[in-house]
Symmetry: C2
Subunit: 339 residues, 2 copies
């Protein structure tokens, strides 16, 4: 007999802040680096290729006192039924007793922790005097990525938004994304900033300091010759084999950090660059947790191009979910049920 807290997407959206998520993701990366965080083997199952699949990501964070899992199911036909295609569900347990602590809708946490990941990469790898961010991709992740960078890097004052496949879409989505960013910032940023749409990706790349890519692309979108020295990329889109957003030659010349080495070379932005011969796995500088912990040096000079390849690890979800549980308990929100 125990009591479990159930947190809906709506409740998590109310209690969890992007600053919480950024701190949580840094903590997850550090615990992985020091060995306090441990990933269990990934389970993937395909019900029907291209139509329905699932994965179960799980792990333990000794310094946070929790372990748990996230089940993510994707059912491509759901939209016809008026349902979301993705359902994510997280279960958290107390690592001193095994008691189940909470069941969470993983959607809100996934959005926040993925945004936070891109921003943590930029915070530790971009030039300190960076002012211009380019957001490549105008989907659900765009507001999370922008808000997280605006919080993690107060020096960024200009954000451009670009939709590489349909250039007019950035202007169409601009108002909605501005509003979503404001809501996510929730008063947490004092410095002024602007968000504008950019039609020409090449030109926007050429004037940016920090570029975040979050598209479902399977083809390189950004060419080596467009990139100016000192640019930082946080690549968030590639999370399965065959996905790619950058010209492999960009990675061949860059200082690269990843969230998880095994995952990055098999499903991340690094995967295609390695397959295409631009990059050897041994050329990856290391995992971002080792950089944050100070075990590895980050950017070595102002001219270097840096890349953070974020594939997403369960530890991010679990730490940020734990923060959501704490925030909800403080405000007595969520449903408590006896188990």
């Amino acid at each position: 007999m125990s009591e479990v807290l159930i947190l809906s997407q709506e409740t998590i959206g109310r209690v969890l802040t992007m600053s919480d998520a950024i701190r949580g993701v840094e903590e997850a990366y550090c615990q992985k680096s020091t060995g306090a965080g441990c990933l269990f083997p990934l389970i993937c199952h395909v019900f029907e290729p291209e139509r329905a699949d699932l994965d179960i990501k799980s792990g333990h964070l000794a310094r946070s006192g929790i372990y748990g899992l996230k089940m993510v199911s994707w059912f491509g036909d759901n939209e016809k039924k008026g349902l979301p295609a993705l359902f994510g569900t997280t279960l958290l347990f107390d690592d001193s007793t095994g008691v189940p602590v909470a069941l969470l809708n993983a959607g809100a946490v996934t959005g926040m922790r993925t945004g936070a990941a891109g921003a943590v990469g930029a915070k530790y790898l971009a030039r300190r005097d960076s002012r211009r961010m380019l957001m490549v991709g105008t989907g659900a992740q765009a507001p999370y990525q922008i808000a997280a960078v605006l919080l993690a890097m107060p020096g960024i004052d200009t954000v451009e938004l670009c939709s590489p496949r349909s250039p007019s879409r950035a202007a169409d989505r601009l108002d909605a994304i501005r509003q979503a960013v404001e809501e996510l910032l929730n008063g947490g940023r004092a410095e002024p900033y602007i968000i504008a749409a950019a039609e020409n990706l090449e030109e926007a790349v050429g004037r940016s300091d920090v570029i975040v890519t979050a598209t479902p692309s399977h083809q390189p979108l950004i060419r080596r010759e467009w990139v100016r020295p000192g640019t930082h990329f946080s690549c968030v889109g590639a999370d399965m084999a065959g996905k790619q957003e950058l010209d492999g030659a960009i990675l061949g010349d860059a200082r690269i950090f990843v969230d998880d080495l095994t995952q990055a070379v098999s499903v991340g932005e690094c995967e295609m660059a390695i397959r295409q011969g631009h990059l050897g796995p041994e050329e990856i500088a290391g995992e971002i947790g080792d950089l944050i912990e100070g075990a590895l040096p980050g950017r070595t000079d102002r001219e270097e191009v840096t890349v953070f390849d974020s594939t997403g690890i369960a530890l991010q979800d679990l730490v940020v979910s734990k923060v959501a549980v704490e925030r909800a308990k403080e405000r007595r929100l969520g449903v408590t049920a006896e188990l």
Copy 2:
């Protein structure tokens, strides 16, 4: 956004009957046999050897329209803290949409489905004229095993209870077990029966038709020479490497069915018999689902000794959990929470 049903151990105990569990376990075995049921890879993690570990068992049952997982955590120090050592938690999803359906305390389901497993083995392998059951082990599983056999085999009229390591314990536990069996039967059996304590295991083995073993033993408890022809064994205790309840020579001469071939040879009763050279893996007749489905013959004559080696598979938990969810919904029990 979706709604999830949370079922506590107490609610499941109220709504789920042993007959439900027996039908559910047969269904799970059949779906495994026909390919409608599919197990995902098992995750095991040891926090600290002999002190704390967990496993995540998961799978899909196409004919039941569900998939899901059961997390079982064992924390050996919990008893000092006044907590149970084991916590089991089951999550069920709808396999047409991926929508989370229910979160259940797995404890009550595990007890019922494990009892049902032993009884299903006996129902399909024991002689039809069996009258005497011997229950070896007086722990938490004993009442579940006895009640399930009494329901699945109306011809059984005598049950003996034996505690192999401390013979007087059977008499001490007799009243509590009788009462627990009555509660589990819940009026579902019309035929009279008796339950008695047996001090001498050898003698009790020699007069029994159906023997269920559910102990934590790592040494053989029952010797080959005690067993009379035609006896059936359902072995439930062995669920990890090194556990053993029967003399390996019994398995060497018997017709053996298992719930899952891979699991039986690595962690089941078959494991030690194979290691000790009494049994070749190819001598196992097959999986019980193939027997129930009629794809393999069961007992071939009255004199044969038969064995069902039950190691426990996620499909049993998932099917029986689904039945518990249906029963709870019929009676409007459980807590519904938005996710």
